[in-house]
Amino acid sequence: MNWIFEPWPWYIGGPMIALVMILLLFSGKSFGVSSNLRTLCTLCGAGKNNDFFDFDWKTQRWNLFIVVGAIIGGWIAIHWLTIDATVHIHPETIAKLNDFKIASAGSAYLPEELFSVNALIQPKVLASLAVGGFLVGFGARYAGGCTSGHAISGLSNLELVSLYAVIGFFIGGLLMNHFLLPYLL
């Protein structure tokens, strides 16, 4: 059982994600996490003056449990199932990130230059996280789903529109990664 404490290879991670989707299908639900962001808007009262958020949030209560579980799962994973959380990415990627002054590449789970409480004091870091989050939330709802809803659920159901969405995810991600991030990091 020692493998549990090591980083999981793709051939464990991928099938586990498929298992999550299949368990949801057999529970009569479909896998899609970003819908919860809409439900959270409704819970904040956004339905009072906007019909997009005016729906019975209780129909989505099951999905909020998925979110609460995802939070608890993160806690369990880092405290009980991980000895060393370092993510061993490709040496060339580490070198490239070092050039952008991301010195924590290859020695941390997340870049400390972006995701530590100290880094957050810098306006540039705060703005990057805020813009990133905004685009993820806006884009996911515009596209009607995120990685789970389109790349996993939608493509598994051989939906052409999910292929459009996933191609879009990669166009956007590649643009950010190759053309914008070099100026932002």
Binding site: G13, M21, I76, G132, F134, A143, T147, V161
Partner: protein, 138 residues
Amino acid sequence: MARSFSFLLIGILFGITMFKSEAASWFRIYEMFQFKSFHMYGIIGSALVLGILMIQLIKRLKLKSFYGESIEIKDKDKSFYRYSIGGIIFGLGWGLSGACPGPMFTLLGAGFLPIIVVIITAVFGTYVYGKIRHKLPH
């Protein structure tokens, strides 16, 4: 109550998987867009192969859910613009924050507190979409 608890357990399984597979790591997303590792492609690809097989089995054998109901997999609305434009916007955010909507909650649980900024602004982004969606091409 029992059903709610089962969803909580599925969510925990999902969260553990996101963290342990490193799909929740900004570094893995960055590396994926640099095409320097098979890791993320292997995760999505293997999930997809199993997902396609299972959905075909469900449809062809008309398998029932745990609760004896028939399993309905709704087709998404047909359109091009909303999926491609929305997808590109999502991708820009994914490439920058390195977090999709699932992993951002996993990272919160794992104690990376600055992710709260990403979560709050993602909720706000969803709200703004809801506000202006009538003016957008779909």
